[in-house]
């Protein structure tokens, strides 16, 4: 069950709330001149958790990450890591490893030298550093590339070197800034699972920034959805998808049909374009309130027009998109634009051809209803 943004921290499951959070972001704000990049952001990350900041570009996700890294300290608020206030510590006095979008591998140093870059000083005698590099290259599967230079590696291999380098010092916190966006789609999918399994194996607390929702859904324990410098929702991938906390989240995550409606009586009904629809989520709302309603394509149930169940909307198919595993059917149902996902083999049986008549059922418990004042 999703909670409103402000209460999200408090609403963590009891089992985790017992452990002290590893990373706490308290009322953090960041201003560049008159532009407010972050508004009083609150967040806590449990030890070993994989948290992703997700949002469109300019939403403040990278600003927040750079604040946590100490690269751009916030202008207000506090950041705490492992119980220590790190808000204004310079990066060199913190405990994190970071992978940038560009990887920022040192081009003039070999893979080995890159990974060993931070392994210096009395804590890392030569033999120990060498052993650690070998161990890391083994973990990321690049032992045979040790002597090469970054320019001689593929994008995916460079990404792994950057990951090995970020993990070399055994940091308590791993920060990933759009780590996969420079790669092509197939490598990206493969690598994100690798990052996830590596993270779980090492148990390192990880914060990733991405604008790719599939990536966020695929690897995260929790997702922090951000927009315009604010946190819209914090939740597991399932929570964020099934119970979005705001219209922004509902529209940003996954696909959906969207329409305006007014709360009707008795409680639990809305009226949209003259259609009376049962909507469980509208029960607690006042009669006459204007609302925005979303429904996911896979929740829209299509039927043959001549076999319409009672209460179904009737409409006309306006477009058909064949996407392989599913077909996406656009339906115009008496002024309501609907998007439905149907298995390709059912298209024929439904008679869903562009221009054809069709019936659609919108299950009451699947309608996502938000007061329209936002």
């Amino acid at each position: 069950m999703a909670a409103p943004p402000d209460a999200a921290v408090a609403a963590r499951p009891a089992s985790n709330a017992a452990a002290a959070p590893y990373l706490e972001v308290i009322e953090v704000g960041k201003q560049f001149g008159t532009f407010v990049a972050l508004h009083r952001v609150n967040l806590s990350v449990q030890p070993g958790e994989f948290v992703t900041f997700l949002g469109p570009s300019g939403c403040g996700k990278t600003t927040l990450l750079r604040g946590i890294a100490g690269l751009d300290p916030p202008t207000s608020g506090r950041i705490r890591q492992a119980g220590r206030d790190i808000t204004f510590l310079p990066p060199a006095e913190r405990d994190f490893g970071i992978v940038f979008q560009s990887y920022a591998l040192f081009p003039n140093l070999s893979v080995t030298q890159n990974v060993a870059y931070g392994l210096r000083g009395p804590a890392w005698p030569k033999a120990r550093a060498r052993q650690r590099v070998a161990e890391l290259l083994d973990i990321v599967g690049l032992s045979d590339q040790a002597a090469k230079y970054p320019a001689q590696l593929s994008g995916g291999q460079q990404q792994r070197v950057a990951l090995a380098r970020a993990l070399a010092n055994e940091p308590g916190l791993l920060l990933l800034d759009e780590p996969l966006s420079a790669l092509d789609a197939i490598v990206r999918q493969h690598l994100r699972q690798e990052i996830r399994s590596l993270q779980q194996r090492l148990g390192v607390t990880t914060v990733m920034v991405t604008h790719d929702q599939e990536e966020a859904m695929g690897v995260s324990d929790r997702i922090v959805v951000m927009a315009r410098g604010r946190i819209e929702q914090i939740g597991t991938p399932a929570e964020v998808y099934d119970a979005p906390a705001s219209p922004f989240v509902a529209a940003f995550i996954g696909h959906s049909s969207r329409f305006e409606a007014v709360v009707d009586s008795p409680p639990g009904f809305v009226v949209a374009r003259g259609h009376r629809l049962a909507a469980t989520a509208a029960r607690s709302l006042l009669y006459g309130a204007r609302v925005t309603v979303f429904i996911r394509p896979e929740h829209v149930l299509l039927h043959r027009a001549d076999a319409a169940p009672p209460g179904a909307l009737t409409g006309r198919v306006t477009a058909l998109e064949y996407l392989g595993a599913v077909c996406r059917v656009s339906v115009e149902a008496g002024g309501l634009p609907l998007l439905a996902a149907v298995a390709p083999q059912e298209i024929g049986a439904l008679g869903a051809m562009p221009g054809g008549e069709i019936a659609a059922v919108l299950p009451a418990d699947r309608l996502l209803v938000f007061p329209a004042d936002e």
């Binding site: 706490e24 308290i26 009322e27 890294a69 100490g70 690269l71 300290p73 207000s76 608020g77 506090r78 705490r80 206030d85 808000t87 204004f88 510590l89 310079p90 990066p91 060199a92 006095e93 913190r94 994190f96 490893g97 970071i98 940038f100 560009s102 920022a104 040192f106 081009p107 003039n108 140093l109 070999s110 870059y117 931070g118 210096r120 230079y149 970054p150 320019a151 001689q152 380098r165 970020a166 070399a168 010092n169 940091p171």
Partner: protein, 564 residues
């Protein structure tokens, strides 16, 4: 507890060792530019408003200037010779650059190398060659039909030679950054070649043309060597400054003329900055580079033009070389090396050349270190406050300050009785520092360009691994920028070897550079010896340039693996 921390703890970021190092370096950069650029220029300005006995003169000096016809005539002469030179050089340079970048002529590398030749010679060299050819005893004097080369004609002819490479370099850059798709689109719309040239090529390079014009204009206005040698009785601003200071010992009027000289230079500098900014705005990151296709109707005339220009450039250097080997021009054309026995003409003899080499080498080594470090701190160091922006601006100022003005500012500042730095006066150090500051900007821009090509997160990655910034600087930044560093060093070396204008006020009896020796020998009527010394300077600078190419190639081979 969290509330307590929120209320009580100070809201200021703590400085890390990295940040302290960056701040200290910034402070050093500020101190260097303040001491050796801003304060001398300030001294010059103040001096222009002083009376002969040190009182406040108000605008009296400027009034005297404006009411002295001879001085005004010099200003006018400077302007029109500079404009005329630019009008001749820019179209010629455009055609040459067009041939190098947009045609399929053979021997492009050779044409490029020959074009660079004037950059390596002191500006006096073409003037000396002109005198050999068209002077009172010139072998081609009959071509002038009674006219005299000593004056505007000689100045413009020599300046065309001297300014040609600068214009070609700027226009080559402008022409090589064309987007092939614009040409494909124009061709698909069935535009004729002439129309494509008018609607795509020219507009695409118009800011380059403005820049080239402005740079040539500035070079001519601020050059001292050519009018000194071939100007005869034709006064220009640059020779006027020299005359006021060295001839009449009137430092106040010298300062006034210096400021007048600064006006067109600063105006041109601002115009060029505007043009550069406009050009940057027209760049599209996704442009497809244009690859010229062979087309004889275009390539053949361009090849002829390049051959003619290259032969003229070589010819002028050749005349100077030949003249330096002649026993007594033009009566005894027997070849001799006597003119290279500099001890016969100047007490310092070969010593002035070795002194120049030492001074230029010091300027190259120290200057490159300072230039690169300052550029690095300005790019990657703290950006808060006005100081970095002001320093960045100060680093571009030397481009607008003529060497003579800087040299005069140095005498006025360092020779002031109250200045504790007066001990520098007449030493090698002041010549070295002056050369570094005089040629600061080009090196600075080269360094900035190189540093900007590096990933902006290198320092952040280093910091996240608790590696101090100076280690990342030494292990990554400097090795990555070695080609640029080498280029800066050679640039400083070549210019310190060839400059006359900046050092003519600053040398002492023990510290006389070779370029000044050329001026002196020419003044003393020993033209052959002057040409010989100019050739010796050219020999050193060409060797330096060849060394740069060899080192660059070696570096390229050594770093080939990681450049991918």
């Amino acid at each position: 507890m969290s509330d307590g921390a929120l209320a009580g703890a100070p809201m200021r970021p703590r400085l890390s060792a990295d940040q302290k190092a960056m701040r200290a370096s910034l402070a050093l950069a500020v101190a260097f530019l303040a001491l050796f650029l801003v304060m001398p220029l300030a001294a010059l300005f103040l001096r222009a408003f002083e009376t002969a006995d040190g009182g406040f003169a108000g605008l009296a000096n400027f009034r005297t200037y404006a009411t002295t016809p001879a001085l005004l005539a010099a200003a006018w002469n400077s302007l029109w010779t500079a404009a005329l030179t630019a009008v001749i050089v820019v179209p010629l340079a455009f055609a040459y650059a067009y041939a190098l970048t947009r045609s399929c002529i053979p021997f492009k590398a050779a044409f490029r190398a020959v074009m660079m030749l004037p950059l390596l010679a002191p500006s006096l060299l073409p003037a000396l060659a002109m005198i050999y050819l068209f002077g009172n005893q010139g072998m081609l004097r009959w071509m002038l039909g009674g006219g005299s080369i000593y004056g505007p004609m000689g100045i413009v002819a020599s300046q065309v030679f001297y300014c040609f490479p600068a214009a070609v370099i700027i226009l080559s850059v402008a022409l090589s950054s064309a987007d092939a798709r614009l040409y494909e689109a124009a061709a698909a719309l069935k535009a004729s070649r002439l129309r494509i040239f008018h609607t795509v090529t020219l507009p695409g390079s118009r800011y380059g043309l403005v820049s080239a014009f402005v740079v040539v204009f500035t070079l001519v206005v601020t050059d001292f060597g050519i009018p000194k040698v071939i100007g005869g009785q034709f006064p220009v601003l640059a020779t006027d400054v020299y005359k006021q200071v060295v001839g009449l010992q009137d430092f106040n009027m010298g300062a006034v003329v210096g400021i007048v000289l600064l006006v067109p230079a600063v105006g041109a500098f601002l115009l060029d900055r505007w043009a550069t900014r406009q050009r940057a705005a027209t760049f599209s990151g996704r442009a497809v580079p244009l690859r010229p296709e062979p087309r004889p109707a275009r390539d053949r005339p361009l090849l002829v033009l390049c051959l003619v220009v290259a032969l003229l450039l070589l010819g002028i250097v050749g005349v100077a070389a030949w003249g330096s080997l002649i026993r007594f021009w033009p009566y005894n054309l027997a070849l001799t090396l006597d003119n290279y026995d500099f001890g016969r003409f100047d007490s310092a003899g070969w010593g002035s050349l070795w002194f120049s080499v030492r001074m230029a080498a010091l300027a190259a080594v120290i200057g490159t270190a300072i230039v690169f470090l300052v550029a690095y701190v300005l790019e990657r160091g703290p950006q808060e406050g006005a100081l970095p922006a002001l320093t960045r601006f100060a680093a571009t100022v030397p481009l607008a300050v003529p060497g003579l003005v800087l040299g005069l500012a140095y005498i006025l500042f360092f020779n002031h009785p109250a200045n504790p730095l007066g001990v520098l006066y007449g030493t090698t150090a002041i010549l070295v520092v002056n050369s570094i500051v005089h040629f600061y900007t080009v090196g600075h821009l080269t360094a900035v360009t190189a540093i900007r090509q590096l990933d902006p997160e290198f320092e952040s990655v280093g910091a996240s691994m608790r590696v101090p910034v100076w280690i990342t600087f030494g292990r990554v930044t400097v090795p990555m920028c070695l080609p640029a560093i080498l280029e800066i060093a050679i640039y400083l070396f070549v210019n310190a070897m060839t400059t006359v204008s900046a050092v003519i006020f600053l040398y002492g009896p023990e510290t006389k550079p070779a370029s000044v020796a050329v001026v002196h020998m020419d003044e003393a009527g020993q033209a052959s010896a002057a040409a010989a010394m100019a050739m010796a300077i050219l020999g050193v600078t060409v060797s330096a340039k060849l060394a740069q190419l060899a080192l660059g190639a070696l570096l390229g081979r050594l770093t080939q693996r990681w450049r991918g």
